[in-house]
């Protein structure tokens, strides 16, 4: 294929675009454009030239001589076209080969289609928001129902269960989270202990640091901190994983092979989180108590040994079972929310980002709501008044 209008390399240098006013042969006003009118030349001075050209084109009878333009492209042509008020001037001289740039401008530069004014926009936004909430609710109920059905099937045929996936998930969400939960738990314990020590010292109630930290950490802080960390760490990972599988059609590939993705992908994550979460809570609370005990010995002179031996008296054992019960619920909640948002991801990158953010925010909120419900239901369990 050979190029028809390929021009020989210009021997003269490429000049800047210039506008010169002149007089045509019959004495009428004329404008002569020279130099290069392409994107490279116009990039720096488009706005300046456009206003200059607009001024000149106010005179309708003016003759436009474009025959000495060295280079022209669509950018230059459109700039001129807009300066002319989107129509061809009556008298226009073009260089051969430049006509092509003006040929399809007529059709292209119509009025911009404007979005029509919608007086009911607010109502519509509210309505679609409510429909979305309803959709989320239905989706969640369906997911929980499907998971329950799958669990019954699993109980009937335990050998066909996704045990390998479950153990892999326990490793990912549990074992690999030990480091970060320990670090955060330890620091929270230290900070809490320092804060309370100052207050208790004022009342001479030093020994009550054991009750304060014991109840606070074991019953409330340990579970919530571990759950928030896991929601941020594993919840986002689960949503992103399912979302990417949606984007790359892997979920559809599983479906057409007759492998239900609730059994292979979602159930293992829920089971794994429900198993790993109580253990992580024990671990986090334990480390937090160690941090608290160390800080108490530094601040109040209560030895770590007496702190630990005083703990069983201050905190009834039922609190540990309560914390572990919370763990099971929090873990399952985080996994459910993460899977729900993961499955809703649309096949594009923006949706993946929004889905992951929503998943983390929703699961942390859900954990805190569940914690409040626990606090109300078990308000008279495990709180000794001795």
């Amino acid at each position: 294929m050979t190029n028809n209008n390929m021009q020989p390399a210009p021997l003269q240098a490429i000049l800047d675009p210039t506008v010169a006013e002149s007089r045509a042969g019959d004495g009428s006003p004329a404008v002569m454009l020279t130099g290069a009118w392409d994107i490279r030349a116009l990039e720096a001075r488009a706005k300046l030239l456009k206003s200059r050209l607009k001024l000149l084109s106010a005179d309708a009878g003016r003759q436009w001589d474009l025959s000495s333009i060295q280079r022209l492209d669509h950018i230059g042509a459109l700039l001129l076209w807009q300066a002319w008020g989107k129509r061809r001037p009556a008298q226009l001289v073009l260089a051969p080969g430049h006509e092509v740039f003006f040929s399809n401008l007529d059709a292209a530069t119509g009025a911009a289609p404007k979005a029509p004014f919608d007086p009911l926009r607010l109502v519509r936004t509210l309505g679609s928001g409510m429909l979305l909430a309803y959709e989320h609710f239905i989706g969640m109920v369906q997911l929980i129902g499907q998971i329950l059905l799958d669990s019954f099937a699993l109980l009937r045929h335990p050998l066909r269960g996704p045990w390998r996936e479950i153990s892999a998930s326990v490793f990912r969400v549990g074992t690999q989270a030990l480091g970060i939960t320990a670090l955060v738990g330890f620091l929270i314990g230290v900070v809490l202990s320092y804060l309370s020590a100052e207050q208790l010292k004022a009342f001479g109630a030093n020994i009550f640091i054991i009750n304060l930290l014991g109840m606070g950490i074991i019953r409330e802080l340990g579970p919530v901190i571990a759950a928030v960390l896991v929601a941020g760490r594993s919840g986002s990972a689960i949503t992103a994983q399912l979302g990417v599988m949606r984007v790359t059609e892997e979920l559809d590939a599983l479906s057409v092979m007759g492998i239900p993705h609730t059994v292979r992908l979602i159930l293992p994550k829920i089971v794994a989180l429900a198993l790993a979460m109580p253990l992580l809570i024990l671990w986090t609370s334990g480390i937090a108590l160690i941090g608290g005990a160390l800080a108490a010995s530094a601040q109040l002179g209560i030895s770590v040994n007496s702190f630990m031996s005083g703990l069983p008296g201050a905190v009834p054992t039922v609190n540990i079972w309560l914390a572990m019960g919370k763990g099971v619920v929090f873990g399952a909640l985080i996994a459910l929310v993460a899977c729900h948002f993961g499955l809703r991801v649309q096949p594009n990158t923006e949706s993946l980002g929004i889905g992951t953010t929503n998943s983390v925010v929703t699961s942390i909120t859900a954990v805190i709501i569940a914690d409040a419900i626990f606090a109300v239901i078990f308000s008279d369990v495990g709180i000794s008044l001795s």
Binding site: I39, K47, W81, V100, T109, A112, P347, N348
Partner: protein, 263 residues
């Protein structure tokens, strides 16, 4: 005329695996050059090296006479505004609408007002035969053929002198791929473009290319017209051009059918 692309003494090595060994390639202005070769022959790697996305182990790549390596970032940015790239899957930004995808390079220049950008985008959409009502859609709502066309419009919006096409017709049905080839050909004639493309599709290759660069055995075994390429007796060329599919594509081009049947 000075060449637009000059690749000299290029070596590419991944560990012990040598992909390119002392490869040379020169592309002159206005040419349409097709890179062909078997899978793993390094066509896409070569193109990415010309684009500066990957670094060759040794050798120089000059585009518009300027070496990409060891040049200031500003100069490289300037070069990058002078070329357009059509990626295999289009690579439209999925978070942006069709309009914003095409408008993005123009907006980045910060030289033009909103009205100008709007008209320019519409002009480019007309150029690639996409109706305006699609401008507000998101890339995920579009078919593969439309994505390719819009990606081409985006590649052309800064009026590039040089266009790279990676598998321009892969994933399109025969009808659409034919019209896409026609589109590229008409744009090439109209805009005086230099085109470098990687393709497996013989129909595209035969109907668009001025020159064919065949990559095999770590170098260019042929670099010339279709006739010159066919004349070389190399197993890859015999398979690629003179296999059943090749002959069918070649017979569509008058004169070449007889020529190739002599082999």
């Amino acid at each position: 005329m000075s060449p637009i692309i000059e690749v000299a003494g290029l070596w590419t090595q991944f560990g012990d695996h040598i992909v390119h060994k002392d490869l040379n390639l020169t592309v002159m202005p206005g040419e349409v050059v097709s890179l062909v070769g078997g899978s793993g022959s390094g066509k896409t790697t070569l193109m990415r090296q010309i684009l500066g996305l990957e670094q060759p182990t040794r050798g120089t790549v000059k585009v518009f006479g300027i070496p990409l390596r060891g040049t200031s970032t500003q100069t490289v940015q300037k070069i990058r505004k002078r070329w357009g790239v059509l990626f295999q899957e289009g690579a439209l930004y999925s978070a942006l609408s069709v309009f914003d995808n095409i408008a993005l390079p123009l907006r980045e220049l910060r030289a033009f007002d909103a009205d100008f950008i709007h008209d320019m985008v519409m002009l480019k959409l007309d150029m690639v035969d996409i109706e305006r009502r699609h401008a507000a859609k998101m890339p995920s709502d579009l078919s593969g053929g439309m994505i390719k066309r819009i990606a081409l419009a985006r590649a052309l919006v800064l009026e590039p002198e040089l266009v790279f096409l990676d598998e321009p017709t892969a994933g399109l049905d025969p009808d659409r791929s034919e019209s896409f080839v026609k589109l590229i050909r008409s744009l090439h004639q109209k805009l005086n473009l230099t085109v470098v493309m990687v393709t497996h599709d013989l129909d595209t290759l035969v109907s668009l290319s001025d020159k064919i660069a065949v990559l095999a055995e770590q170098k260019l075994i042929v670099y010339g017209s279709l006739q010159e390429a066919i004349a070389v007796k190399h197993p890859f060329i015999l398979n690629f051009f003179l296999g059943e599919r090749g002959l069918r594509a070649l017979s569509a081009v008058s004169g070449l059918g007889q020529l190739s049947s002599k082999h």
